[in-house]
């Protein structure tokens, strides 16, 4: 087991900078997730760790040892590919045994270790099947077993669950978490699915546009996003623009037009002054119909649109020239055109400077 360190790693494909000065430290035994939208460079980063891509700049270290120039087969990592990459001309047993045979282990030991890992991932009885005779979930397990059996220094998982159906995905997610903790292998997990990342990671690195934009524990990333991108990428969010009317310490008051002033917390690491353009980011699920005990904003507006989602009612409320989204109790019927009042705690409103907003304006926010 090792600690993995990336130092200022940059990789270009032609003119496209896929990975831009990425530095990461993955602790020994940690399950570390790289999360980001497609094309953000997360898979390339993983492939640089595996040695499939060679960085144009920067270094990759395993426990103080520079492995940048080591070939994939000299690194001792084991990767689970998104499409599993099972060899169609080999049985389940031969697929899993491959890494051990390469190491020239005695036959009896190969057999013993393969059977043990087959049992561990619940594939007993399928060892003579060919990959094409297996279901997607079973193929996934073979790929995992093939990686685990060599007892790698680092386990690399590239969107391993993205080809499974929703229910199986949740089950495999728990299984991967359980196995990883039990074996204590340093693991780097790449995904674009934030729920997956939140639920199984020790720490998460959020990547966007080739850069790491925030690293932290899942709770920390959700509760105090470090920038607008993370705030809008993680979870659902809704936004109101305005002009700063007052700043005192962490507390900011924002005039969002039509005489409405919202109180919120200043995002960590940013500065705002009176009269600056700013943006209030809120989670739709944080809105309430009853006034909470803590200090809260009271927002009144006309209902524009309602959508019944099941677990909640999505309500779009018009506030002067802007509107915001709130997830409300599905039992309460709301009709478009009626006036309504909702509450949100001041602590749940995060205020960012408006700069850079246009570039990341998602449909999730609008």
């Amino acid at each position: 087991m090792v600690k993995v360190v990336l130092k200022d790693v940059t990789k270009k494909f032609g003119r496209v900078v896929a990975v831009n000065k990425v530095s990461l430290e993955v602790e020994d035994g940690e399950l570390f997730t790289i999360l980001g939208p497609s094309g953000c460079g997360k898979t390339t980063t993983l492939r640089i760790v595996a040695g499939f891509e060679f960085p144009d700049e920067g270094r990759v270290m395993f426990d103080e040892v520079d492995v940048t120039f080591r070939k994939p087969y000299e690194r001792g990592t084991a990767m689970v590919f998104q499409n599993y990459a099972l060899w169609p001309h080999m049985t389940v047993f031969d697929n899993i045994a491959y890494g051990l045979k390469v190491k020239k282990l005695p036959k009896s030991e190969v057999r013993e270790r393969v059977m043990r890992v087959i049992e561990l991932v619940g594939l007993k009885g399928l060892e003579d099947r060919y990959p094409l005779q297996l279901s997607g979930g079973q193929q996934q397990r073979v790929a995992l077993a093939r990686a685990l059996v060599v007892e790698p220094k680092v386990l690399l998982l590239d969107e391993p669950l993205s080809n499974l159906d929703a229910k199986l995905r949740v089950r495999m997610r728990e299984e991967i978490r359980r196995l990883q903790k039990r074996l204590g292998i340093t693991t780097i997990y790449v995904t674009h699915d934030q729920e997956e990342a939140m639920s199984l990671s020790d720490r998460i690195a959020i990547m966007n546009d080739g850069k790491v934009v925030q690293v932290g524990h899942p709770r920390e990333i959700y509760m105090s996003p470090g920038n607008l991108f993370v705030a809008t990428f993680i979870g659902r969010s809704t936004a109101l623009m305005g002009r700063v009317v007052e700043v005192s310490g962490e507390n900011v008051k924002l005039d969002v037009g039509d005489g409405v002033v919202i109180k919120g917390r200043l995002a960590r690491g940013y500065e705002l002054r009176t009269n600056d353009e700013a943006i209030a980011i809120m989670r739709p699920e944080d809105f309430d119909l009853d006034k909470p005990k803590a200090e809260a904003n009271e927002l009144s507006g006309v209902v524009d649109l309602t959508m019944f989602i099941g677990a909640f009612n999505q309500v779009k409320i018009r506030l002067g020239s802007q509107s915001f989204k709130a997830y409300l109790d599905p039992d309460i019927e709301v009709r478009p055109g009626t006036e309504m009042t909702v509450y949100i705690r001041v602590d749940d409103v995060i205020i960012f400077p408006r700069r850079g907003w246009e570039e990341i304006e998602f449909e999730a926010v609008a």
Binding site: G51, F52, F54, K71, Y73, F81, Y98, V102, A147
Partner: protein, 604 residues
Amino acid sequence: MGLLRKLRFYLDSAMVVQLLIPVVFFGLFLIIPLAAVAVFPLVPGISGTTYSPLLLFQDPSMIRFTSTRPSVIIRQVVMGGENLTLIALFGPNYGAIPNSLINSMVVTLGASIFGLVVAFVMARYDFPGKMFFRVLAMVPLLLTPFINAFVVRKMFMYDGIISYFIHRILHLPYIIYVDYLAGVMIAQVMTFWPIVYLNVYASMVQIDPSLEEQAENLGAKGFRLFRTVTLPLSLPGLAAGAAVVFIFSLEDLGAPIAFREFDMISFKIFSGLRAAITGEVPPYVASLSLLLLALAMVAFLSIKKYVSLRQYAMVVRGGRWLPRVRKPGMIGAVLIYALILPAMLFTAFPQIGVFMYSLAERWTKTFPEGLTLKYFSEMVSNPVLFTSIKNSLIYAGSALAIIVLLGISTAYVVARGRIPGLGILDAIATSPIAIPGLAIATGYFLVFSRAPFKSTLLDPFTSGPWLLLILAYAIRRSPFTIRAVYAGLQQIHEALEESAMNLGASRWRTLATIVIPLLGLSILGGALVSFVYSMAETSVSVTLGGIESSQRPITYSMYEYLYSGYVEGPNLVAVMAVFIISIQLTVIVVTNFILKQRYAFIGV
């Protein structure tokens, strides 16, 4: 600096070896000989003079401004007591260079028009007997070196089948006689049109039907739809097919020899190189080879732009679609059965004629006469023929071993290498399709018969041409295998190799345990096709192949027996052609039905 860093990482021993194999092989046996063809005309010969390509344009047998013969002669003749009009088509003769250019342009145009029509009908219509049409369209591509054009000439003699049909069946008072350049044109269009058909057809079935439906939806139909959507999207196939036909037509020898059109670039190089048996070639040979090479390269490079369009024809592809086929209307059906079918049967006739010839006692008048198998037994008992068949099997088999090695290395490096400059290697490895064999033969003669190769195994005068023939076959036919292996590699997800290396397998081990086992069928399919085309190679075989009589390949003997005046010669050549066709048919069956691959026919 960055490049060195990269190379240090991506070049491991396996990659270096895989890279060196094609670089060394193509460098020694393709680039250097062709460079010699380019340089030699500028270097003084033994007489101390140079024969620059410019001198070609002062030689009246190469180029002149008046034709030496009328293109058409129409004359009243009396035959069998009947007054008939003889129409003799000869075509003009402006010397070798204009003749070859005129011929190739006419042939390319003719083959393109007919190929395009057949491709459109086959890709867009469904009609009874379509399978028969499909098979019929492949018949002209069956390899029948020399004898093919020989039979075409028989068809177009005074007393040939064409005149018989017009005079005796249609009862029209005409007889037709075709010879010289006009005959070359007809014979080549008949042989080469399926190349255009196959390439255009492949393009047309790749067009997303929604593109045509959208145009119809906006009001385009009929010829307008064809002209504005279908044809532009088929252009990659048309360009590729037309360029290949142009090049094949330029370097073809069979038709010029059969129709006695000796003023052609290919024939001039051929006859010059055959004089090489004396050790020295006429000075114009290298210059003419350079011209031939340049013309072929222009054709090849000018379509590069269009062929890359192939991807754009597929960009909008999403999922599977039902091909856009419909039933032809009344007029369409009449055109298909009354016009296209007879035309296709006509172009397939030379191959049918070769079969009849092989089983006939003689074919001296309109039709073959008498049924016999004696020529089949004579092919085996005749020591000269038997030796040349044996030689060709050995040469093609040895070439195959090189081709497989070269095919795997080249395709692997091009598909998987991460170093700059591989595009050049890819282009060089594909180029033998477009490089005239006569230019290669000239290059081999220029390079390997003198120092530093003099008196080595490569020298055709001291060791015989066997090694040069094997190398030439390997170079000329390797693109079939390289392309097949490359296509196979694209089917294999790279992650299958990466996962092996990730688990500690070196690149060599990954090649042996993952890549080659998964590529097996692609390699076999490509290799079989390469083998057949090696057997039927003519350009190098009939020039350098004749230097040592005991080492002659099959195509050399076919040429010799056809034109050396031996009475039973053509019958024996027909039998040998049937032998080559049967090998080819076996390969087609194996690749299509056992390996389930599309038979990799000619295309760029």
